[in-house]
Structures are given as structure tokens and as C-alpha cells.
């Protein structure tokens, strides 16, 4: 199970980073979303994996998994949403201003955008 999670985190990171390096805004946003998943799962996995041990106090439970990474990741998920929303809107505004959805597009004069380096 640990291998599945670790490899999933690695794959998500790789996919996220690759998309992050694209030249158009929408893939970058998607890349950021994938990277957020990767980071959230990574942080969550720092509490180690446990099955059927939710951190809800109950006399019938055999034990509990670590609640702290969960609490941190919960807020992280919401904050990543906020961040994604801001990035999406910035991409949108940049596109409306410049007429190009290139990540390095400049308003007005350089409407075509240029390719990276």
C-alpha cells in the first residue's frame, strides 16, 4: 500500500511539474492542481498509513491514526482551492488584457507573447 501511495505521489508530482513548465496558462493551472494533490497526499502520508482507524474518539475503536497531518491537510486543501482560484482568475485577466494565454504575455504591445527564454 505504501508503495502505491508513494508512487502515486511521485507520479502526481512529475505530471504537475511537467504541466507547470508549459507555455500556456491552462496547463499551468492544471499542473498546479496536480502538484497540490501531490503535496497534500505527501503531507497526509507523514502521519503514516492506517486503515479503519479514523481519528474519531470511540470506545469501540482499536486505535487511531495520526490526526495532526489530517488537520493540516484539510486546511491545505481549502487554501489550495483559494490559490487555484486566484491563479485561474489571474490567467483569465491576463488573457483578457493581452489577448494571449501565454504565461509570459504582456498587456497591450506584446499581444502575441513570446516563447519563454
Amino acid at each position: 500500500m505504501e508503495f502505491l501511495v508513494a508512487s502515486a505521489v511521485g507520479l502526481l508530482t512529475a505530471a504537475g511539474v511537467f504541466l507547470l513548465l508549459r507555455a500556456r496558462t491552462f496547463p499551468v493551472v492544471l499542473g498546479l492542481t496536480l502538484l497540490s494533490y501531490a503535496i497534500n497526499v505527501f503531507l497526509f502520508s507523514m502521519g503514516r498509513l492506517a486503515v479503519n482507524l479514523p481519528p474519531v474518539i470511540n470506545d469501540l475503536n482499536k486505535g487511531y491514526t495520526d490526526p495532526l497531518p489530517q488537520a493540516l491537510v484539510l486546511t491545505a486543501i481549502v487554501i489550495s482551492f483559494g490559490m487555484t482560484a486566484v491563479i485561474v482568475v489571474m490567467a483569465l485577466r491576463a488573457y483578457l488584457e493581452s489577448g494571449s494565454d501565454h504565461v509570459d504575455a504582456m498587456p497591450e504591445r506584446r499581444s502575441g507573447g513570446k516563447d519563454g527564454q
Partner: protein, 981 residues
Amino acid sequence: MGARHCRAESFDAMPPVGTLGPIKKQPGWTMSLALIVMLPFLGAALPALMIRAGRNACALATGSVSLVALVLLLTHAPAVLRGELVEAGWEWLPGLGLNVNFFLDGLGLLFAGLILGIGLLIIAYARFYLSPDDPMGTFYSFLLLFQGAMVGIVLSDNVLLLLIFWELTSLSSFLLIGYWKHLPEGRQGARMALTVTGAGGLALIAGMLLLGEIAGSYELTEILQQPELIQASPLYLPALVLILGGCFTKSAQFPFHFWLPHAMAAPTPVSAYLHSATMVKAGIFLLARLWPVLAGTDAWFYLVATTGLATMVIAAVIALFKDDLKGLLAFSTVSHLGLVTMLLGFGTPIAAVAGVFHIINHATFKAALFMSAGIVDHEAGSRDMAHLGGLATLMPITATLATLAGASMAGIPLLNGFLSKEMMLDAAAQTSWAGQVWVVPLFATLGAVFSVAYSFRYVVRVFFGARRDSYPNPPHDPPVGMWLPPALLVMLVVLIGLFPATFAGPLVAATAAAVVGGPLPDYQLALWHGLTPAVGMSVAAVAIGLSLLWRYPVVRAAWQAGPHPEAKAMLRATIDALVSTSRELVHGVHNGSLQRYLVVMLAAMLALGFTVFLTTSHAPGMRPTLPAVPVAVVAWLLLIGACTTAVLLHRRRLVALVAVGVVGLIVSLGFVYLSAPDLALTQISVEVVTVILMLLALNFLPKRMPAESSVGRRLRDATIAGLAGLGVGGLAWAAMTRDFESLSGYYLEQSLPGGGGSNVVNVILVDFRGFDTFGEIIVLGIAALAIFALLDGALRGSVGRRLDAWVPDQARSKGRHPMMMVVATRVMLPLALTVGVFIFLRGHNVPGGGFIAGLVVAIALVMQYMASGFGWAAQRMKIDYHALIGSGVLIAAVTGVASWLAGFPFLTSTFGHFHVPLVGDIELASAMAFDLGVFLTVIGAVMLALANLSRIGRRAAHQAVNDEPMDAYRPAVLKVRPREA
């Protein structure tokens, strides 16, 4: 001694220091020492306030601050003249070795006396000098700030404290030099002074830190005890060079002398105060202060004495050819500072005595001369020699004062300048330079020659000769308030000149003893020492100097034929070159390309991470792993498929978005399986909102895009991405296969008894770590407001016009609001809201809570917008989302503050059990109110973001807002919207 973490061993030897209290000797007196420094700072606000009561009140208030400080200083004078050391202070940042320690010895007394005494005269003088248009309150405030900083320098025991005051003098002198903001020369001069002295200040900081490092203490009284240790250290030379860098720039020594004449653009009181009596002497002061530990070596002699000698001669030569009175005085000041520097550089006690004596004498005659120049400028309307002359009969008082002071500067007998010049020449006659006995005496005499020449030129060209008819103003003597200050100084010039042992003897002795740090040699402050070589040099200097003046036109022509490097242009060129170089560098690295930045950052992170990983040894983790169930493997395969799809088909955006949505779903399922129900709920609801958001945005972004990355670029990116994935995945694997210690045991134990809830994750969020959550909802609110600002602005200007001209790139669906969906969402709304409230209420004990409930309710509301149209929904939901965010944050804050009122720390929670009829026993925690804040903020933030995105959509759709037609109960409306199409 308190906690001295870093340098404990070296501080052990220090005398005990009480915390926040006076120390050492004379407990009753010591606080007043710190007060002397603090008074000008405290009083700096006074002139700015008192100016409302008039200019006299303002000057009086300022003067009384200086006067009180001076009186306090004089109360210590008897003890200091007896040879005692007065100390005061308290610990400030002992861990850094930074303490507010002051001490007063002869040297400090001399300088503090000069600063406060001359400061008092300058304050009186400035009252009459400044015109009614000048903001006098500001002037006096700056002046007091400067005064406090200067007194701080000369009384500081702690070198770090001294450095702070040193920088303060640079800053406050910048303000004073640039006081006449409307004059470009003033601004340029202020900038140049700040650049040069600020750069020197940086060098000084480094040098002083090195010195403290060598001596093992940052207290001067400690450092001065260890000359052998310091001079034997390999760090001695670097420390010396750096400290001299600070001193030479501040005291305008060659080749840093060029800033001082430009600083003369300041009002004359500033020039007289800063550039003759005080600030430029700060460098000299520090040379004298550190003389016991730094002087005596060859390096000191060749660096300091040579610099001083060169400065003395060069500046004296330049001064002779200045027509501007203040320019002449400025260069003569540089020259005299060079003289003192040279004397200190000789490294012999007798030369140090001469240097100290000359500091006193120079301060008196030069400040008087500056004030007389100011009077001439003020009353005759010009300070250019070309427009002056013959003023002696028109302004006799000023002429008398200036002549006496000028004669003293020339070194004419019976005046104090003569005495110290004799001692200088005497010391020079006994000094050989690199084995050559003639070098120092010859150049010293040369300096004296030019000193005589420019002094007499000043007096003769301004006050004697024929009267003119064309003075810019009709000249006359100034009011008494303006001539009295220089008159007092000239009185000192004469008295010390006639009776040096009486009027200057004790002060010179106390000061010189402090400089030398040991027994003084035999010396006499007297008019006549017999026929020494110095007398011959002196006579020669006067004779040659006068003959230079006699043949002045010839001399001047010769001077003008020579080269004249323009320091201002050179400094500007240097700074321009620095600026353009850094601009090239910055623009070269920061070319504005996001892709480049990301590649560089990622590559750097990978390099760092892999370097550390590959250069250390690792053992495999021993923690037993969980078995992988078949369902998990299937989900894993799905995840791989979705990721691959997103990467390979990212140019087909809708497909890529769906793939990312699938990933989100699998992550949620993973959370469910791995005992994180709260995370699963949050993830799934965030997923829904995110997809809606992206769809709304995608509506305006191109649906497909060209492939523009080259194969090489994609290969490079894939390599970086692969390595990053390998690194993060490997790290996760390594962490998960190892055991760990967690502080969660506390949370699990305390959740019920301490937080009153059994859902530990929720209790952590709203209680244990409520402060984090509080910050996070604020961030979320700010993010929503940023989105609002970005989109609201987009509705106006060029973007607004672009939206008006928008042509949708995809055909619109004819039935924008399908009946099925409209009905379903409306039926579901109460249900969804109930679910939301239910999730909120139960959150403290079972999975749920404010975050999740907020998201669920937001989704329910967004569904109405989607199904029935924005206009319809907006008309029925008149909720101000800004207010919702604000009230959410406020409720959370009030919950926190309430615990303050009850006497507990911020956000301490409480809970209790209540019996409600029919429902039974329920438990209410104050944390629930906090969670309510979270709940409201989340709804507000999500709705604000989405609602504003749809506003853009409406603007671009060019259609009337559908406030009526969607209503399923109006058949008439249905008719106009054919469903079969």
C-alpha cells in the same frame, strides 16, 4: 552577567552589569550620563511643536534642550578632570553583545562639550540666520537629532551602540544638508555626503566587528585594555583598514575629501556645526578613541600619517583658489582635519597632545569663521569674493571677529591657532618618513604656507581693500544674536592664545590622557618655547604664504593651467556605471519569463536535494507496510491513466480537465480508505467547486492550443519532472517505511476532556490549533477579495470593451437551463442546505465541520446559478458575499477575544452540556462559534469567486439577464424557448 550565549568565555572578565539599571561607579549620577545622550532625541519633537508658538519660542525650546544636556555634562566635568571614569548603562541585547553602555572620560568630555556648546551657539545663530520662509521647527528637530547622535558617538562604551549613532549622524546630516529641498545643489550635496559617509560607515561596521572579535568584547573600555592582543592578531590589518575607511570618509580625508565642499550647499549654521565643529570630527574622534590599541604600528603610521599629511597639503592648496567663502572654509577644514589626522598618525604621545589641542583650537576659530561667512552672506547678499571687499568699515564687528579668527587659522602668535601649529611643526620636525627625515617637515611647512595664504586671502579679500558700490545688499553688522556666538568663540581664541595653560590646560591634559591611555609626556602649553626648528618653519610659512598672496594672479594662473579632476562627475560616473551594471545583471537574470524562473528554481531544488541524498548513506526503512488490496491497485491504475491523459492530452483542455477531476476523485477515495473521512469530504467538495471554477474560466480561454514547445524543450521538462517525481515519491516512500514520533497523542487524549469533541481533526482545527485556522480563513477571504478585484477591474476599460465585442468560440446550447435540472436543483436546495447544516453541527464529534459544510452549502447555491441562470438566482439570493466573508472572520475573532475577556489566552475554548427538550442532552462548545465563522467565510469566499466569474460571462454573452424566463411554472415563458431544437 545574564545570558551571553555566543561569546560566554570572553565576557566572563567583564564587570558585573545590573539589568535595566545604572551600573558601576557614582550610582546617583550615572543615569544623567545616559540622559545627556537621550535629551536631544527626546527634545527633537519639541521644536516641531513649539514652532506654533513662534520662532523665538522654538529656538528657546531647542536651546534649552541643549543647555540642560550641557549642564548635565558639566556636572561630570570635575570628576573627569580629576581623572575618573563616569559610566552608565544597561543591557539591551546581551546575546549580541549590544548594550546601552556609556562612559565619559576626557576625550568624551571634550567632544561632548564641543558638540553641545557649539550646538548651543549655532541654535542661537540659526534663529537669526534662517529666513521667515524656512521651516524652522523642522530645522531644529533635525539639528537636535544630529546632536543626539553625535553625543551618542562620543559617549558610547559599546561599539555596536557607537555604530548605530554613527549611522544616525550620516542620516541626520543628510537631512540637514538637504534642508533647502528646493536647491538641486543641496539635494546633490546631501546625496553625495550620504553615499560617501554611508559607504564608509559600512566599512566601519565590519572593522569594528573584527576589532570586537579580536578583543573578545564589544565594550570600548574592555577593548582599550588590550593593545598587545589586538596588534598581534592577524585580523589587525583588515580591521585597521576598514576602521580607517570609516574614519577617513567621515572626516573627509584624501581621497574622500570631495563630498565636504559639496555639502556646503547646506545653510551656514549646518556647515558651521556639522562641517567644522562636529560631524567631520567624528572620524578624528574615533582615531583618537582607538589610538591606544591601533596606533604605534608601522601600518598605522604609514596609513594615517601619510593620509593626514597629503590631505593637509592638498586641501590647503585647493582652498587658496576658492572664491566662495564657504568653499574656502570647507577645504581649509579638510586641511586642518588632515593636520590632526597626521598628528594622531605619528603615534607618539606628544603628537597626540598636539592633535588634541588643535582639535579644540580649530573648533573655536573655524566655527567663528563659518559664522562670520554666514553673516557676510546674510547681510551683504553674497559669499563670492568677486562681489565682496572693503567690508571692514561697513561691518566692523564682523570684520574684527573674522580677522582674529582668520589670523588664528593662519597661526599668528598670541592666538590659539599659533600654539597648536607650533606643536604640530615641532612634532613633524622630529618625524622621519621611510627613513627620510626631510619629507614630513617639508610638507608640513608647505601645508602651513598655504594655510597662511588662504587665511589672509579670506580676510583681505572680504573685509579690506576698496569699498564697492555694488554689493547685492547694503552691508551692515547683524543683530547681536547673530554676532554674539562667534564673538564668544573668538574670545576663547584669544584667551587660549594668551593663557593656554589656564584656559585649555586641564582639558587638554584630561583629553590627551584619555587618548594616550597612559602617562603623558612632559609638555608645556606656552607661547614661547625658545628658538626651536618649529619657530623657523613657522616664520618661513608666514613669509612664503604672504608672498604667495602678493603674487596671487601669477600663482592662480599656474594653478589653473594644471589638471582639475571633478570629483562630482567622477562619483556620478562611478554610480552610473554601478547602476547600469546591476541593471544589466538583474534584467539578464530576471527576463520576466515564468518558465525560465520555474526551470531555474526546480533545477536548483533538485540539485540540492539529490546532492544531499547522494552524498550521505541510507538504510532501508524497517516499518512493516500495509498489504495492497485489489481495489487500491485498480484505483492506482486509474490514477496513472488519468495523470497520463492529463499530461499527454493537455492541449485538449476539456479532456485534461476531466482527467484532473478523476485524479481528485481517486485522491478522495484514498482518503476514505486511509482513515481520513474529513479529508475525503473536503477533497470531494473542493473538487466540485474547482471543476466549476475551471469550466467557467475555460469558457474564456482558448479551448485548444498550438504545440509550441520543441521536442528538446519537452524532453528537458520531462527530465526535470521525472526527477522531481522520483525525489518526492522516494521521500514519501522513505518516510512511510520508517517509524516516527508524533505529538498527536496529546490531541487524542485531550480531544474529549479538553476540547469537548470526539472528532479529533475538527477539534484540532477549531480549538487546539484554532489560531492557524483563523489565519487560514483570513487568507481564504483575501484570496476571494483578490479575485473580486481582478474581475471587477476586468469589467472596465479595454478589457470591458474586449468583452463587449466577445464572439463565443463555441455554439451555445439552445436550452441553456434544462427543465430537469432546474426542477431538480430547486427541489434539492432545502435538502442540500439541511445536509450542510447537519454536517456543520455534527462536525465536532463525527466527520464534518465548518470547512466541509461551507463547501457543501456553496455548491448547493452555485447549483441554483447554474441551473436557473445567474440573474434569476441573484435576484433571489440578495446576499452580500463580502459581508459574509467579513462577518465570518469577525465571528471567529470575537470568539477568540471572548476568551480574553474571560481571562484566558486568545481562542481558549470552553464547552458545556445543555438539555434541550425533545432533542435531549446536547453538547455545545464555544469552538462551534469559531467553526461558524469558518463556515461563513468559506461560503462567502467560494460564492464571491464564482459569482464574479459569471459576471464576466454575462457581460460577454450579450444577452438580457434571464430574470424571469427560467421559471418552470410560467408556461408563457416556456413557449418562447423551444425545447425541441
